[in-house]
Subunit: 278 residues, 2 copies
Amino acid sequence: MTDFDDIPRDFPGLKERIVERGSALPKRLSQVAIYALEHPDEVAFGTAASIAVAAGVQPSTLVRFAKAMGYQGFSELQEVFRTRLRERVLNYDERLEQLRHHAHSASKPNVIFHGFSNAARKSIDILQERLEPGKLDSAVQILASAETVYLVGLRRSFPISTYMSYAFGKLNIKNVLIDAIGGQAQEELSFATGNDCVLAISFTPYASETVALVQAAAAKGVPIVSITDSGFSPIASRAKVWFEVTEANFEGFRSMSATLALAMTLTVAVAEMKSRRY
Amino acid sequence: MTDFDDIPRDFPGLKERIVERGSALPKRLSQVAIYALEHPDEVAFGTAASIAVAAGVQPSTLVRFAKAMGYQGFSELQEVFRTRLRERVLNYDERLEQLRHHAHSASKPNVIFHGFSNAARKSIDILQERLEPGKLDSAVQILASAETVYLVGLRRSFPISTYMSYAFGKLNIKNVLIDAIGGQAQEELSFATGNDCVLAISFTPYASETVALVQAAAAKGVPIVSITDSGFSPIASRAKVWFEVTEANFEGFRSMSATLALAMTLTVAVAEMKSRRY
DNA sequence: CCCAAAATAGAACACCTATTCCATTTTTCT
DNA sequence: AGAAAAATGGAATAGGTGTTCTATTTTGGG
């Protein structure tokens, strides 16, 4: 007696079934289950013989495993692993390639658009790979324990600090946006104390006013969290925690997506941490 | 006599070679070349027999084609198509899955960060799929022919208009950022004429002031380009061209990456078009 | 501790694989 | 137009494929 319609045809479904039946599986079969989930690419491309060697079992075990999952044989199960690869997302170059194929959309503005889109995606990928989880946690810690968060980010970084101020406001987190209106930046920051916190954002070429503000705050003992683009940045050395964000660029124009994603993370994570305290 | 070292092992390299040698190839072989480039997935997974049928040639032709490209046989060429699939980027769900595996980075802030990263990527993907090339071209046209660009975007959209103002400034494009300081928004916009242009940015819930500004400008005959999230938006109906940007969200917080990428595109494309005029 | 049931290893098998080879057709050059 | 060269189709082949089958080992309940 076999299941007729209840056979997973896509990878997530198969995964679910392996997890579900996997625990009750005999030794060799669960060995296959573990190998399959950990090396799905090998399963997709290998032959029954090669996979069997890699997983440390006999080829016949693979067939038995496939049948235990409800398939007719190993080949049928392998097909699921193959479709998974087929459905993977295209990479950057392939996307650009695809764009060039559609000749009608190859006007200059459209090329620019896809360039920026790719730069944005790339920046986020890079940050996602490199961001150290511990740093993020301690930055949130510092920001959440501050009475008031002072947001320092001018020129190119001003959109980011503006966004954070808006979001903090919506989340009921006390903050001051240093907008330098009327040249009053230093004065805006003058109320900050050791119980507060400065979140500084600046990229090359570091706006001199931002640097001066951070230095003044540091001198007063205000804890500083920085978002910048290198360890040599003048706002990194003064900071308790600093993030290195490397934005990809298109024709010299740097993306801001990664910085923005980090900024959104900080605001929401701080709000989340503060709300837990009660 | 065969090439020894000059054999492409990655897909882009193979592609280049096919294009390079492809034009000088005999009929059946170029038939294979075209099929291979158009159906790389089939080549990766199929058998020589199945691919031959699909491409309308004999299996032996595939072998001859592989040899013409410098490989020892069809299998060696197929391996290149397979590594291509292996190197494809993971999709969203798989990334999140991978994160959950690394237990140490599963603190709340890190989960939030990956959530926002994925939302950003998704937003960009969606926009890249849906953005109509023609719309982009005509928006750039309108903006580039304006004497002064008035940037209207408040609250959540203010970071975007701020960024555009900064970038336009750097690119020497006359613009006015409506920042509503001192409640002077209407007055800031009062100098706009039919020779100028308003770029309006607003998302649900549409800031009432933004809507009012757009209406006033439209009444004066100022051309309007809008970035918004639906055709029912009050700033879409008044616009000469309007963009629909659907941002993915994470726990209710909408991404801004797609909007930002579009904003960057518009600024640079307008600058590019203006510079061509001389 | 024993025995029935389940699980496994590995040989056997039928089928399908990529490749080779050669007769035939098509192209190219004189 | 004719001969030489290149390209092609298709049959032949040797090797590898997934699967089946069975003897053997392992497991688990009384």
